[in-house]
């Protein structure tokens, strides 16, 4: 239970903090502090158990199918780290209370700080590797938000982006590594993995898994070559830097290395990679720290260097080195956090962190200076301070680790060199800030901060001293507990004492101290050199990530345009080709063989018919660019031939539908043609270029192939032998007895497959609504508007009586077709189209205003009523406990008329009829209204298509 509280406290606290009033620094800080302390207490309460060697566990299933669960597991190492995270967290909260400005929106700050603490504890307590990855990424995310806390500053944004990019990427590598590792072991449980070292080492995936895991760890711990994000992350508020970038988050990488050390270490690959990366970071970080201008930059690079030291130790595959590494983790956390706090105080009190501007602050802020001095000395490895002890152990390990002569000499030498740099930058840090002539022109007058702000730093410095003076009594048990948790029986014997005695490591320390002071003195005397170095480092760092990102994005954009064309023609070409290729691949074996056609008169007439149709189709294809009207008329011809084909092969209903749709489509296109730009067949140069010709040739080939393929496929299916499908047999057999209709197609449409028809009229209605929707915002192209009124119709074209006979005649025919549909060709759809076209003819021969002054058409209501009629026919069946759209019929004996067969399918067909009338009219009239609108002044209202005279 306590385990859960440790992880949950910070998150719950974080959420609570987020809802507090902004700018109430005290409330937030109190809440956060209490949460941190409570968590710390919870950790402390577990000490007895852990000290007894018990591994405290608790788990909760999450996604058992993938082996993912939340398994909390606290052993000595985890306990030590949890203690570190919570105690420094509590100190940072206290510090931040005074650091943050009253203008800052602190709820967000404390909320994410606590969330970060929770995530960190989640990592530390992970007993499941997937869970570890989850919390790992959560630390990246919370750190992102915290770094970007002052997001109005460009450098904050940049720092946050870089940090998340690098650590997030690393996290994904870690995930990959963990997944491989889990697959090797067969479980993601930490215990299982730690127990399977031999299996892991022997597995062929080991190198891949190792490299991926190391990538995760190195990015997180800012190891070379991924160190660059850490200095940029210094844009964060200093409490964040003190916490995340010294004590907690960056330690996650080395934590992971130590955690998995039993399972992964012990191979040459491990030694090679980890040691070289660690050594690189150690030396380069220390070297770079020397040339920083920003105080926090110095501290950041020093952190890189110290983390490199730990990495190097962990890479050495020696239990003693592991002990040293863990010891240094603790030590580094204390002195570095303290230093960051000091840097923050300086920044807070003076308004700058620029080493070039600062100086002589020891007089104004003596306490701060003292604290910083001790912490810096610990960082430099001055005896009687904790940093000295772990560094001594490190130096000792470098001497014994090497197996080849090169390593035997190289390792200690490089370690000493790093020590020299370390001393030099520590000295520089203290000297440039606190000593020397007092700085002038500082943004603020420096003075000692409030005591509460100094307290956390003081506590840490005291710890540095205590550990440095009596290590065995203070840190000894904890270190032993932690190392035992990892090493178990391999735990080496080691002694912790403030003064290890004279031996080689001490000599190295001495060289480092002396060398460091000398180096700094030398650099001081050659200021030009130092400035050059500063400039070089600064220039190298400035915004290279931004530039890289920009260049990458541009490259991606170019690539993306290449692979995702914005041209419709390309897309359609690909679709046609894809379809043809897929069809060819699957069907090329099943194409039927041609049999010699029998030439009969019937065949001949059909051939004649399609000579007409083919000519029309080809004519349409060739004329559509320059002679739109001609193409449209030819298209009409092709449609007519299609219609005749349907009629020819016993599909009267289809023929009816085809011809009515065909004509309505033609009228529609004619209505639209008016708005298209004039195109005159001048041989424009674009047409004659080789490229255009090649494109046309390509399209012609594709079209020919597609046509040929389609013809072959059709032929195959046409001559495909086979019995009539059970469906048609059923429909033929049931149409009359079960549905009372002779026209099987119509019965199919309104009954057997009435659901399709319901969908079909829905589509028609949707389209009509959409047409109206689009056209009421339509802006006619200016050049297509008539400039002046055209020649008015002077002549009466045809006698009015004839014109006025069309509507009633069509009305009768329309209703006839509707009512006859169930037994003969026809039905609601065709009937509706007849009436709608007759209506359009009225518009056509008389004009919009004439028609609309005589009739208020509300096509949308027609559609609504039609849809309701059709759908409620379906729902009506529910009343009889039947399924939707079940046909309900009755025979009624009417006087005069006789026996009438009333069927719900008729109501359904009436619904179809109404929808079709409404939709077609709405579409046609919306289009027709564009002319009306075109004639009005441009600013005149958005015409509602059919909002005709209320």
């Amino acid at each position: 239970m306590l385990l859960w509280l440790i992880v949950l406290f910070p998150f719950v606290g974080g959420v609570c903090t987020a809802f507090l009033r902004p700018n109430a620094r005290n409330a937030e800080a109190w809440l956060a502090g209490i949460v941190a302390l409570a968590t710390l207490c919870a950790v402390a309460l577990l000490y007895p158990q852990v000290a007894n060697g018990v591994i405290v566990r608790s788990s909760l299933e999450w996604l058992p199918q993938a082996g993912v669960r939340i398994a909390l597991r606290m052993d000595g190492f985890a306990w030590m780290f949890a203690g570190l995270v919570t105690s420094i967290g509590a100190l940072v909260v206290l510090y931040a209370r005074y650091y943050m400005s009253p203008a800052d929106p602190v709820p967000r700050f404390f909320s994410f700080l606590l969330a970060f603490m929770g995530s960190m504890l989640g990592i530390v307590l992970s007993g499941n590797l997937i869970q570890l990855v989850v919390f790992w990424e959560m630390t990246s995310l919370t750190s992102f938000v915290l770094i970007g806390y002052w997001y109005h500053r460009a450098e904050s944004r940049r720092g946050a982006i870089v940090a998340l990019s690098v650590t997030g990427t690393g996290g994904l590598c870690l995930l990959a590594g963990v997944l491989l590792l889990g697959h090797i072991v067969g479980s993601y449980e930490l215990d299982a993995v730690l127990a399977a070292a031999d299996r892991i080492h022997a597995h062929p995936w080991y190198p891949a898994a190792l490299v991926l895991l190391l990538l995760g760890a190195f990015t997180k711990s800012a190891q070379v070559p991924f160190q660059f994000w850490l200095p940029q992350a210094m844009a964060a508020p200093t409490p964040v830097s003190a916490y995340l970038h010294s004590a907690a988050m960056v330690k996650a990488g080395v934590f992971l290395l130590a955690r998995l050390w039993p399972a992964l270490a012990g191979t040459d690959l491990w030694f090679g990679i980890v040691c070289s990366v660690g050594m690189g970071s150690l030396v380069l970080g220390a070297c770079a720290a020397l040339f920083q201008r920003d105080i926090k930059g110095v501290l950041a690079y020093s952190t890189v260097s110290h983390l490199g030291l730990m990495t190097l130790l962990l890479g050495m595959d020696s239990p003693l080195a592991l002990v040293a590494a863990i010891f240094h983790m603790l030590n580094h956390a204390t002195f570095k956090a303290s230093l960051f706090m000091a840097a923050g105080i300086v920044d807070h009190e003076t308004g700058t962190r620029d080493l070039a501007r600062l100086g002589g602050l020891a007089r104004a802020m003596p306490i701060t200076a003292t604290l910083a001095l001790v912490a810096a000395a610990a960082m430099a490895g001055v005896p009687l301070l904790n940093g000295f002890l772990s560094k001594e152990m490190f130096f000792a390990e470098t001497i014994f680790a090497g197996e080849t002569p090169a390593l035997r000499i190289g390792l200690p030498a490089l370690a000493t060199l790093a020590g020299v740099f370390s001393v030099a930058y520590s000295t520089r840090f203290f000297h440039r800030v606190f000593l020397g002539p007092p700085a002038r022109d500082l943004p603020r007058e420096p003075h000692e901060p409030t005591h509460w702000m100094l307290a956390p730093s003081l506590i840490l410095v005291v710890i540095c001293l205590l550990v440095g003076i009596m290590p065995a009594q203070t840190i000894g048990p904890v270190l032993s507990l932690a190392t035992h948790a990892i090493l178990g029986s391999r735990q080496p014997a080691y002694s912790l004492s403030a003064w290890p005695g004279f031996h080689a490591p001490l000599a190295m320390s001495a060289i480092a101290l002396v060398g460091g002071f000398t180096l700094y003195a030398f650099l001081l005397s050659r200021r030009v050199l130092a400035r050059l170095a500063l400039r070089a480092v600064g220039a190298a760092r400035r915004h290279w990530f931004d530039r890289l990102t920009l260049r990458l994005v541009r490259t991606f954009d170019r690539l993306q345009r290449l692979v995702i064309s914005r041209r419709l023609q390309i897309q359609l070409l690909i679709i046609v080709i894809a379809c043809s290729v897929v069809g060819y691949l699957t069907l090329n074996n099943s194409i039927a063989r041609f049999s010699a056609p029998s030439i009969t008169v019937l065949e001949l007439s059909f051939a004649l018919l399609w000579i007409v149709g083919g000519a029309c189709a080809l004519g349409t294809a060739l004329q559509a660019k320059f002679h739109r009207l001609a193409a449209l008329i030819m298209f009409g011809g092709a449609g007519l031939v299609t219609f005749l084909t349907f009629a020819w092969f016993s599909a009267p209903d289809l023929a009816l539908t085809q011809i009515s749709v065909e004509v309505v489509t033609m009228v529609l296109m004619l209505l639209g043609l008016r708005w298209l730009p004039k195109r005159i067949d001048t041989m424009d140069p674009g047409r004659r270029t080789t490229r255009a010709r090649a494109r046309r040739l390509r399209d012609a080939i594709v079209a020919t192939l597609a046509g040929a393929g389609m013809a072959l496929l059709s032929y195959t299916l046409l001559v495909h032998p086979g019995a009539p499908s059970p469906l048609s047999e059923f429909f033929l057999a049931q149409a009359l007895p079960a549905s009372g209709g002779r026209n099987v197609v119509n019965v199919t449409l309104v009954d057997f497959r009435g659901f399709d028809t319901l969908g079909e009229i829905t589509v028609v209605a949707i389209v009509a609504l959409t047409v109206y929707k689009v056209l009421r915002r339509f802006r006619p192209p200016p050049e297509s508007l008539p400039g002046t009124a055209r020649d008015a119709a002077q002549t009466m074209i045809s006698p009015a009586t004839l014109r006025r006979l069309v509507l009633p005649a069509a009305g009768v025919i329309s209703l006839y077709v509707l009512l006859r549909g169930h037994n003969a060709p026809g039905g609601g759809f065709v009937g509706g189209l007849i009436l709608a076209t007759a209506f359009i003819v009225q518009y056509l021969v008389t004009g919009t205003l004439w028609v609309e002054s005589r009739l208020r058409i509300r096509p949308q209501y027609w559609m609504a009523v039609g849809l309701l009629a059709a759908a409620s026919t379906g729902c009506g069946a529910w009343l009889g406990s039947r399924a939707f759209l079940t046909n309900m019929s009755a025979h009624i004996d009417l006087p005069l008329v006789g026996d009438v067969h009333l069927s719900s399918t008729l109501l359904f067909d009436v619904g179809v009829y109404l929808v079709v009338i409404g939709a077609t009219t709405l579409i046609l009239v919306s289009l027709a209204h564009q002319s009306l609108r075109g004639r009005r002044a441009p600013e005149a209202e958005p015409v509602a298509g059919i909002r005709v005279r209320a």
Partner: protein
């Protein structure tokens, strides 16, 4: 219902019965219902009721038109199959009409259109009808023929 339109409704019922191919009472009733519905819905779109007289003249005119259709068809066929399609004397012919009754004009338009060789090309507000004629031998004779054969009976029928 503002105006009853017996002629129109009758015509529509007849059309209905023609379409259905029966004269059962049920169909008559249904036809009446359909026609009345249409008349009510589209009342402002319908032609005025004609006032017709002289059914005998009408019958005679009907058969005359039938005869003329056959004749003119043959005439046009001759022109088409003849050797001299290039020299056909086509022309627009203007005929001043006395007929003003819209129904009469409608029937005249039907007749002119139904007889190949003549096409109704428009009617000016002053009553001058323009026809396009495929092959005009004698323009005046043609005008006379139209006025005599068609316009006069129509004037009699639709007064």
């Amino acid at each position: 219902m503002k105006r009853l339109r017996p002629f129109l409704i009758l015509a529509m019922v007849v059309l209905w019965l023609l379409l259905n191919g029966t004269v059962s009472i049920g169909q008559v009733v249904l036809g009446l219902v359909v026609s009345i519905v249409i008349v009510v819905v589209f009342r402002d779109f319908l032609p005025d009721e004609p006032r017709m007289r002289r059914p005998a003249t009408a019958v005679a005119l009907f058969f005359r038109v039938l005869y003329d259709i056959v004749q003119s068809n043959l005439g046009v066929a001759r022109v088409i199959l003849g050797r001299r399609t290039r020299n056909v004397r086509s022309a627009f012919v203007r005929i001043p009409l006395e007929l003003r009754n819209p129904h009469g004009l409608a029937v005249l338009a039907g007749i002119v259109t139904s007889t190949p060789g003549t096409i109704w090309a428009g009617l000016a507000p002053d009553g001058v009808l323009t026809l396009h004629v495929l092959d005009v031998d004698d323009e005046q004779a043609l005008i006379r023929a139209i006025k005599e054969r068609y316009e006069r009976p129509l004037l009699e029928i639709f007064k």
